[in-house]
Symmetry: C2
Subunit: 152 residues, 2 copies
């Protein structure tokens, strides 16, 4: 089983049509996969596997959560999708191309997208000082959101 993208995210226009997208990337466009990718395209922003399963089941009721996990794996190998590790909860997935950072509220679990612009200098500083090359967009920031701050 080859799992090398036939298409290239950087140069290929991405059709927002799950089936075409899968074929373009040279992988089988099965009904469950189409349902998962389609749900991911429709849903804007990071989402956990369980919720994604529910969304996909709207179109493809028999789809199993294990299949969703496997599909996420495939899409991620193709570079179509990113994992975001968020705190102690389940990890999140989102369409690639958005490299904003995700911030999770420790109190209420709210998720905010934070434009990554602010982080460039920090990433460089970390690399200079420790040799670590950060991959922002793969981990979540934790903190307290404005609403929960008021309630404290």
């Amino acid at each position: 089983m080859r799992r090398e993208p036939k298409a290239d995210l950087d140069t290929t226009p991405i059709p927002h049509d799950a089936e075409a997208l899968l074929q373009q990337f040279g992988c089988r466009a099965t009904r469950p996969r189409v349902a998962v990718l389609d749900a991911l395209i429709r849903h804007d922003g990071p989402i956990d596997a369980t919720t994604l399963t529910e969304l996909a089941q709207a179109n493809e009721p028999s789809i199993h959560e294990a299949t969703v996990y496997r599909t996420i794996g495939v899409l991620s190998e193709l570079g179509l999708v990113n994992h975001v590790h968020a705190g102690h909860g389940p990890s999140l997935v989102r369409l690639a191309g958005n490299n904003d950072l995700v911030a999770v509220c420790q109190d209420c679990g709210a998720i905010a997208d934070i434009p990554q612009a602010a982080f460039g200098p920090m990433i460089k500083a970390v690399e200079r000082e420790s040799g670590f090359v950060l991959e922002p967009g793969h981990f979540a920031l934790e903190g307290v959101c404005a609403d929960c701050l008021e309630l404290r």
Copy 2:
């Protein structure tokens, strides 16, 4: 059960003596707790619960992992200990007072401490733009360490 520190981390000198420390914070200095806190003091840097259990068992062989988790909970309520959520692996704990950021290598799992100095401006920027007040030191940065970069 009250769980409010009698001593204050900011003003109280911290004896590096687990038993005294526990008493100072007004909680029962049981043998298992002393063993856990002692291991934590001796071990420098973030550590996961399983490894911490093994260290503590060196002094207190019968100590159970559930007890270690509960002890971590208590110490954390007292502000003596911080959780760090690290990627997909188990979460890490460390003595409070060190607010450096933890960076985890995606490839080999190596852990690096990164002085938090570089992050001040970023934290402010995030607060300004999104209202989120980050708690650095509670989440881990992910990336690739210098060694693994070479191997790629």
